[in-house]
Every structure is written in C-alpha cells, then in structure tokens.
C-alpha cells in the first residue's frame, strides 16, 4: 500500500482561475492503475462531502486517446510509450508527491479540473485530413497494390490516437506532430496523392488559425507520444508544405 500526496489542478468552470489543491492519497494498492488511484481518491472525496476530481478517460487500455493527465510535468507521465490510463501505481514509491495537471495549451481551454477541450484537433482533421471518397465509389481493394514499406510507413503515422500529448509536452504548444502524422499517413499512400498539396496547406493553415505554437525542433512531442510517432513526419510535412506552398504561390 502506498501513501501519497497529490497536487491536483482544480478548476470548477472554464471561466474560473483554477489552482493546485493538495490531497492525501492513503492506502493505495500498488496494483491499481493511476486512474484507479484517482477513482479511489474521488470516492473518498465524495464520501466526505466534496466534489470529485474531473478527468477525461474512456477505454482505459491506451487506445481511445481520451485520458490526458500531465503527471509530474510530463503528459502521460515520464514512462515511454504509454497513455495516462496505462500508468500503474507500482511505479511510484511510498511517500511520493505527484503533480497532476491538465494537458496545457492555449488552444486547449480547461473545461473542468483536468478536462480540456481538444476540439481544435478535430477541426484540423476536418480542414483536410481525409481522402475525399464517397461511400460506394471505391474500386476493388486489391486493384491498387501498395508497396509494403509504404503501407508500413503510413501505418506508423496512422497509429496516432489524437490524445494531444505532443501538444501538451511542447514548450510552444505546437500541433506539428499531430498534424504531420495525418499528412504523412495519407501522403504515404497512392490514394492520398490527388489531394496531397491541398491537404497539407489546409491542415497547416487550420493548425495556425487554432492558435497552436510552432515547432522549435526540441522533439519533446516524440518523447511524450504514447504511440512513439516519429518527428520524421514533421520533416516530411515541412517539405510537403514548402513544395505545396511554392506551387500554389508561384507556379
């Protein structure tokens, strides 16, 4: 059993100022997951008449991308390649103090406590992160062979779960890795070629319009990404954007 001190960001509404509150988390089983630890703390808060700590979560198996806790200053904790829901308490020691904050970015306004609004990421996808194909108009799936390395590279980028850790980890709150992963996923596939230029221009413009910062090549995003998506995709997007932009402006 662990006895911990939690320093948790509490903010009742989007308009509130918000501040760090301290909670004792006593007798936490080591087998519990981090979110289960919060469940336990919340049950106790409710029983003692308080309001529980709000946080986003859903699948609790590291794939839906809902959970979004910054644990001791690092999105999804300092452990590599996992989401907040995959953090387990056995990684902490008795007596530890744990700081829990939301995924911070100006473009991610806090809704309540640790819940933030990440709809800006949906709007980046809506701007062009797709292949414009009507249902029913597709040709036979095997009529378009795709070299395995391309398919694998597309997959590596497509593994993004849209959690926003890259943005939260970035000192500039840049959405480059998220945007680049989608540009690269579709850009690696032959189906994605017709809209390749249009896509990268539209997505980057939407990304800028949402108020995300820009990349200063520190690669904190890659280090925080639960799916370990590579910053190579950012380089690729830079190239794609430059080409598309020059074509658009000068050709």
């Amino acid at each position: 059993m662990l006895n911990l001190t939690l320093k948790v960001w509490r903010q009742k509404t989007p308009q509130d100022q918000g501040s760090i509150e301290t909670y004792d988390a006593k007798n936490i089983p080591e087998e519990a997951s981090f979110l289960e630890m919060l469940d336990i703390v919340n049950e106790r808060i409710i029983e003692s008449g308080g309001e529980p700590i709000h946080f986003d979560h859903d699948c609790r198996e590291g794939i839906c991308g809902a959970c979004s806790l910054t644990i001791n200053g690092v999105p999804h904790s300092k452990e590599k390649g996992i989401t907040s829901c995959q953090v387990h308490m056995r990684k902490f020691r008795d007596g530890d103090t744990i700081w829990i904050e939301p995924f911070r970015a100006r473009a991610f306004p806090v809704i309540r406590d640790l819940i933030v609004d990440r709809s800006a990421m949906d709007r980046i996808i809506a701007a062009g992160g797709y292949i414009d194909v009507r249902t029913g108009s597709a040709v036979d799936a095997n009529s378009l062979p795709i070299p395995k390395p391309d398919a694998d590279a597309a997959f590596d980028a497509a593994a993004c779960i849209g959690c926003g850790a890259c943005i939260a980890a970035c000192k500039n709150s840049s959405a480059m890795l998220f945007t680049a992963a989608k540009v690269s996923h579709l850009g690696h596939l032959p189906q994605g070629q017709p809209e390749r230029d249009k896509r990268v221009l539209a997505m980057v413009r939407q990304m800028d319009a949402e108020g995300f910062g820009n990349c200063t090549n520190q690669y904190e995003c890659e280090a925080a990404c639960p799916k370990e998506i590579s910053v190579d995709h950012i380089a690729r997007m830079n190239r794609d954007y430059t080409v598309a932009s020059l074509k658009e402006q000068l050709v």
């Binding site: 087998e31 469940d39 049950e43 699948c59 609790r60 198996e61 949906d122 249902t135 189906q191």
Partner: protein
Amino acid sequence: MSFVLDSKIPAGPLDQKWSKHKMDSKLINPANKRKFTILVVGSGLAGGAAAATLSELGYKVKCFCYQDSPRRAHSIAAQGGINAAKNYQNDGDSVRRLFYDTIKGGDFRSREANVYRLAEVSTNIIDQCVAQGVPFAREYGGLLDNRSFGGAQVSRTFYARGQTGQQLLIGCYQALEKEVHKGGVQMFPRTEMLDVVLVDGHAKGIVVRDLVTGKISSHAGDAVIMATGGYGNVFFLSTNAMGCNVTAAWRAARRGALFANPCYTQIHPTCIPVSGDYQSKLTLMSESLRNDGRIWVPKSKEVAAKLRKKEIHPDSVAEEDRDYILERKYPSFGNLAPRDISSRAAKEACDEGRGVASTGLGVYLDFRDATKRLGESVIRARYGNLFQMYEKIAGEDPYKNPMMIYPAVHYTMGGLWVDYNLMSNIPGLHVLGEANFSDHGANRLGASALMQGLADGYFVIPTTIANYLATQTPGKAKVTDDAFKLAEAETSARVNKLIGINGKRTVDSFHRELGLLMWDNCGMARNKAGLEENIKRIPEIREEFWNNVRIPGSGDIANMELEKAGRVADFLEFAETMCYDALSREESCGGHFREEHQSQPGDPDVDSGLVAPGEAKRDDANYSHVAAWQYVEGKAPILHKEPLNFEEVHPSVRSYK
C-alpha cells in the same frame, strides 16, 4: 400496446433478397434529400459511417456522441480484424460460406436474410476502407494480407496490426470530418442523449444534455438513428470503455422500442484477471495465446491457497498436482476449446476454490512447456507484444511466472429489435451496430463486430432509411412542439431528482453491487434460482439507489458523477429485463448458458460422440425465436416472439470435433 413483429424480410431466394430489396426500396430525389434532417446518436463505426454516408447522399445530419471527439468511440478498441468474403486467398471462401459460418457461430439464433446481407456487403467494406486510406496489413507484393481468425477454416480476416478497430474508426472519422467540413454534418461531441421524442408514435427527435454546460435541450429531425453500442457495462467490470452504457437504448425501450435477446452476452476467456475491488475495467488479450499456453489450476484447494499468497512458485507445483482443466475435460480440443466452454471451465475451477490469482479469480495460462519445446525466442517472436502488454498491466514477467487469465464480458449480441430495414418497432427509430440485435444470434464470431458496424452504417441504412423517409413530410417536427417540451421537462426533472437525493453512497458502489450480482447470476452460467434471486434483488438495489445515492455538485456544469448516475439508473432497470430474458429462455445457446440445459451422458449426441458432456443444449422446437421485450413501468416486461425461419440452412448441433 400490441406488436406485430414484422421483420419485413423481402421475398425471393436468399442470395437475391438484398439486391431485390435495394431495387424495391424507395428513392428520394436529390433536391428533397436536403430537406430531411437525420439525427445520428453515436459516432463509432456504425454511427460515424451512417452519418458520413447520409451526408454524402445529401441529407442534413446531426451527429451526437458523449466523447470529446467522434474518433474516441469504443469501436477503436477492437484488435483482431474484420471479416470479408473477398476470397483473395483462393482458399474456397465465398459470401455463402461467410454467411454460413456466421449463422452457425450464432448458434442458429439469427435471421438468415440479415446475415446473408452482411456477408454480401462485407466485400464492399474493404474496398471502401482501402479507398479512405486505412492501412491494412499487406504482403510484399503490395496486395492485402489476410489471416484466419476465430477458428474459421478460411483466411478472410483483414487486419491492421493489432489496431484494426482503431484504423477503421479513423477512416470513418475522417469521412465524418470531411462531411463536417462540407457542412452536411453538424457534430455534437460531449453531448449525451437522454431521451427519444415521439410525435404521433414516430421517433422525431431526441433530448440531450450538454456535458460541458449541463444544458438540456432537444433536437428535432425526420428520423433518428441510434448506434450507441452494447450494454456490457451492466456487469460493471467488462472490456468495454468506461462510458459505454445502455442509456440511449433503454430510453428508447421505455418509449416502447422492444429490446431483443438481452441475455445474449459474450464472455471472452483470455482477459487479465481482476486484481482488487478498486478495479475499474478489464483488459482483453488475444485468444491466440491459447495456441501454446496450457491452462491449469492446482488439484487441491490448499495448494491454490499457497499460490494465491505467493508462498510457493507455480513452477514448484508437481505435474501430478496440476489439473489441466481443458485438456482433462475436452481432450480432443484441449486448450483450444471454444470461448464459452473455456470460460465456464475457468469459472468452475475458481468457484471450487482452486483459483490462483490473489483474488482467487484466475487460472494459469502456462507457457513453460511451450518454451521448453520451442525455446524462448520463438515464444517471444510469437507473443512478445502480448507478453509485454501483460507485464505492463499485471506487473509480472510472464517469461518467469505463468500468465494468469480470467474470462470477462466483452460484447453483447442482444439489442433493440429491428426489422430488415434496421428500423425498430417505433417508426423512424433506426438502430445500427452493436446496439441492435440482428446479425450475431446468440454468439458473435471473431472479427465480425467491425464488419457489422460498417455494413450497417455505410451500406445498409443509406438505402433502407429512404423507405421510411419517403412516407414522411420533411421538417414537420419542431422542438417547440409539446412532445419535445414534455420530454425535456421529464429529463430535467430526472436530473434534478438525481441531484436532489443527496444520500450516502457513491454511484460506483451501486454499479459495483449490480455488476457483481449480474456476473454471479446472469454471467457465464445461469440457473433459475440465481435469476430469480436477481429479479428480486435488482429492484431493491434500484430502490436504495434512488434514495441513497450521492451526487455532489450541480447539474449546470460538467459533472461526471451525474453522468454516471443516469447511466447506472438505466442499467438498474435494464438488468432486470436481461434476467427475465435469461430466465424465460429455457435452453442453452451461444453466450447464454443455462446450467439446467447442458448435454449429458445419455443424450444421443453425447453417446454418439458428437458433443462432449457439459455443452450448451439448444431447444429448437421451443426457442427458435427472437425474444423481444416490452418495457412496462413497475411491472415485469412483456415478451413478444419473432419466430426464426430457416429456409437455407438447417440448424444443427454445434459440434467442435
């Protein structure tokens, strides 16, 4: 209220029903389509695909989900793959074979026509997904790769590493966002449907709560589509996401929609065991582990007790003290016995006190012998990622200590009753995906859930919904109508009532209590006494819930306890219907196992060696029907039956020899 359960299955030969139905279906001209508003609840594979496709066709679509983004719907968690009768492997697959496998897998408790259609459109799904950029696994030649799955004799499963559900959902989400961008779909994330609004008996709208501002409001449309997933969380612990709930379906049921076959739930044998009573959720591991792992528990309770306390290492248990439960009971199938049988065997051993996890609920899945035989490197190559996942969660190195597994709920075959057009008995209310009951019968085959969700959303509903819309004048229902005001007022009153209780117990404590009761008496194995006990106990828990639950805070901001409370309140009503269904179905079939109805020595099939003793025993003479339940406030639900007619296949004993 009386119902005629008309499944509206088109006449004609099975393989021509769908094309004929498409031909006979009404069309709506493009200029009129934009006058119709369709409300889609849920944004997973079924809902997202439907919303995107209907918008492409020109309808106005409003799509709602409780998650913060449509990309997070629980379809995302499916790992294995998606079936399609492409026969790219030239191994003898066909639409007909996929149809047959699915109907047999469902233990002959599904509709032939629906299942055939599912098999038929399966091929279009793969084409569509590839065109969207879904990165399916490929061979070196650049063509799509397949694997066999769930014991099928052909390789028809398309997959994208272990993240097929995620990749398909992202494809679908991209299509949805494309339509959002074009203005055809208006997306309402963090919005939970709390009621369906009926105008003159037709579903014309929904009442929703904005999960950020707490505002309760209505949306009016010309038809409602619910693609709201399954109800596995009635057990509290399941592999479902935390937010998965029965609320939308149950609210519709309270408005008169029939709930079909709620007792059909699927239990998956290879999940990571529960580690304590704080546990919130269970994690599934691929069944492929059973190819090399041997399932065992100690023969004696005393040894089991020592293992639980970790006083001895499992390797120190001598061979003669081990009970390889599946190998002993099903020598011909061994550790590869079907899901339901393996699950029940594990439960039985644990019920006898021979379980090995610290909670007593777990059996070993031991790779010791396979490692000796093949070497650790082979095991690592085959199962490395699964071992890693296990270690992450269980905190034990499976190369050093045998894995522990325990069965868990992960899919529900039952759902709202729908006809061939996927419309419920409430005109205008359509139900897709796991939320309906139509395609999987009493048991779903692996890699078929993704197939059904996308089939319903991309290919079925866009055609069939026109049959309903063509009979309607668009835009007639308005949120200012009395029916909407009334439904809104009722929803607000319910929310206020929940907040006003101000009792002592938390929502989760009720959910846990209900879940345990359901797992014990309406889970893997069911019997009359247990079900009757549940039918007595559930109303008592419900009573206490409505008098003693504590929901802190108010309803006018984000309030997760309030959200959970509404869902648990509905589970507390739904669970009762589920038990009634399980009680009334006096047979065992697929995921529904009644202890009273199992094959035993003396049965002709057992004596002839066709089936082993202890297997599910169907009763086709009396139970070859869909059980559709009508909710009646304060009373037992009323059963309506839709007989299942098999024209093409002959229901046979499901033998695994």
